[in-house]
Amino acid sequence: MNKKTLQELISNCHAAGKKTAVSFCSHVPQEILEAAGICSLRLPYVGGVDDAASHILVSNVCPIVKNVCNVCEDSALADVDLIFAETSCDGKKKMYELLSDQKRIYFYQVGQGADREYVRPLIKSEVKYLIRELGKRFGVRITEDDIREAAKLVNEERQSILDLMAIQKAKPAAAWGTEIFRALEEHRTVPDIRERIAANRKTKEELLAQKSPVGKSARRVLVTGCPMSGVYEKIASTIESNGGVVVAFENCEVIKSAIRHFDTENEDIMEAFADCYQQTACAIMSPNTVRFDLIRQLTDEYQVDGVLDVTLQTCHPYTVERDKMMRLCREELGIPYMAVETDVTDSDAGQLATRITAFLEMI
């Protein structure tokens, strides 16, 4: 996504009389924003924004944190009504404190483990605080029914993402993973959730209607790790031009967040939030058992030949978790595993190509 598209998007939302909220993390409960009738933008990597990060942040931080910083300080977001500062990783949560317009920032607290007693009550109370906050800021009243209706849509969107990814379960995979990721990136900037769902479904139909471009011998790669928005072109195209195909993106933008389900039938709506968001397979969770279970499940369902763990520079949660992920893949699952660390520049393209090619040849 580039700055111009973002600006248009926001002004269109405002022109339609809607409030706008931006968030950068899948821990933020979209059901509430949808229920509040707020135009919620989960922003991907945004190109073409002014550099503020190098004046505000130390240099050794993750490229996503820098990009989020740049986006938030850029004129592109000047009119946005609310910026979600979720306390996921250290880099982001501390960066949010430095943003110049603190009035638009709302800190949303994220638990740090799925298996602790405090996590469910914390999710519930944070959700309640958020509902109250939206009431205070925008005068919106959110009823249980609103949430249930919104959650149905959010579930549907999640399902449409999973369905699109699932076409890769075929052998050979139905499409290039790069195409799928690219389509999802484009669709997620569509402000209307129904249109997003329709777009995901349409892409799925289109890709299924074509003859698979993927060769029979292509090695089936599962990509996992940090959010890929800023680097997927580089990583996925390197895999797919060197004898591999990405059959599944476990990352935040795709399966990790889409696999969660909100039980709209649950009598206690707050319990439903806890059930849903507790299941986030994010590395800020300690221990992150949900991710390990997810990898077990996906490597089986997608008949994966190799796991590529893509981490971004200075992302401590994912880089430290590599050791356990490597052992899971190699020792427990018996699947080849490789980790690559990268950033949003192209300076490592040659080295990445060499390593990824060698990995694919080895499989």
Partner: protein
């Protein structure tokens, strides 16, 4: 001329090394040991459980190579060194720890503890991210309680409210006395040098006899105050001498290239802020025994102004007060390589210092040699700049 160091002080400088032997004695006496890393560790509960507490934060570059076989290279040296020590069995404190307690403070430590737990019995306490009573006290109380129960289960003991109450009183007393050490820096010239202040506070972590520890602190405070009143200052009175506050996380291992150099070049470190300093000492636990002691303990630790919480307004307020109370002329933030919380927060400190009209120096370093000369040059320039402006201010008076 500066006076000679009383013998007392050298003991402290040597406390960590001597601690290795003392630790063995403690173990030989059948006592059990709880290793810890962080100012969030509820000392009251460990003390009430009858455990000896010892800090396991790595300070040497030697075990880092071993650690990097399992951890990414681009990670804070303290985390790598601490983990490397356990892999290598090269730290007696870690070796003798019957249990290790860690908090989900920074991302690096939190994730490292998952690996450490494969080698040592561990209790991990989850921290709130937003240090707000309404939003976080409940979860935090639940985690502190879980920790108490975990110790009870692990050591087959019962920790009663009476034991906690007694421990709270004792730890408050100790903490208040420790905070008084920093008050010595309020004098002009300071009644103790920053290097000694650091040796003492650091050494205290490795003394395991509570009463003796308390007595030592008291006698040092008394001695320093007495000396000062008799005109025996640790440094020559000099109205242009820069008074610095040093802050940051886990920088003790970098002393030789940082704080020692500052004082060698003629500045005085009058106070330390951050996790090696005064920040968690200024708040005691409420002693009202009619209230649940676990809740009271949790309240104190919720207010620890560590850079891992957001928004960390409490730290900004505290730093502003510290600058005023200690009449500081400059602020030095020492952060370890790859430490996101303290490094990123330094920008907020810089803005605060700017509003207070004092300069800030940010030193990013690690445990390996090689950057001493560069750091020295920067410290030199920083001190020189402050000295010049103090001189100028004096001539205008």
């Amino acid at each position: 001329m500066a006076n000679e160091l009383p013998k007392n002080f050298e003991e402290f400088a040597d406390a960590r090394r001597a601690g290795f032997l003392k630790m063995k004695e403690v173990k030989d006496q059948g006592k059990q040991v709880c290793g810890m890393f962080c100012q969030y560790t509820p000392a009251e509960i460990i003390h009430a459980a009858g455990l000896k507490q010892v800090a396991l934060c790595g300070r040497s570059h030697l075990p880092i190579k071993t650690a990097e076989t399992r951890l990414p290279a681009n990670l804070c040296p303290l985390i790598k060194a601490s983990f490397g020590h356990v892999l290598e069995d090269s730290c007696p404190f870690a070796y003798f720890s019957d249990i290790v307690v860690g908090e989900t403070t920074c991302d690096g430590k939190k994730k490292m503890y998952e690996l450490l737990g494969e080698y040592k019995p561990m209790q991990v306490i989850h921290l709130p991210n937003v240090p707000d009573y309404d939003r976080s006290l409940e979860m935090w109380v639940s985690e502190v309680r879980k920790f108490k129960e975990g110790l009870e289960e692990h050591f087959h003991i019962t920790i009663t409210d009476d034991m906690l109450n007694a421990s709270i009183v004792w730890n408050n007393k100790l903490r208040t006395q420790q905070a008084r050490l920093y008050e010595l820096g309020k004098y002009d010239p300071p009644a103790v040098t920053g290097v000694v202040m650091n040796d003492v506070t650091d050494g205290l972590q490795f003394m395991f006899d509570d009463e003796a520890k308390y007595e030592k602190i008291s006698s040092i405070i008394e001695e320093c105050e007495k000396n000062w009143k008799e005109g025996k200052y640790p440094v020559e009175p000099d109205p242009t001498r820069p008074r610095l506050i040093v802050s940051g996380g886990g920088y003790v291992a970098t002393n030789e290239k940082t704080i020692n150099v500052m004082e060698e070049l003629g500045a005085s470190i009058v106070c330390y802020e951050g996790c090696c300093g005064i920040s968690s000492l200024r708040r005691t636990v409420d002693e009202d025994t009619s209230r649940d002691p676990i809740v009271r303990i949790a309240e104190k630790y919720l207010e620890v102004p560590c850079a891992v919480v957001s928004p960390n307004t409490r730290r900004m307020e505290q730093v502003a007060d510290t600058i005023d109370e200690w009449k500081a002329d400059g602020y030095v933030s020492i952060t370890l390589h790859s430490c996101n919380p303290f490094a990123i927060e330094t920008e907020n400190l810089r803005r605060l210092c700017e509003s207070k009209g004092i300069p800030l120096l940010h030193i990013q370093t690690d445990f390996t040699p090689g950057d001493e000369a560069q750091i020295r040059t920067r410290i030199e320039a920083f001190i020189e700049m402050i000295r010049e402006s103090k001189k100028e201010a004096l001539t205008h008076e």
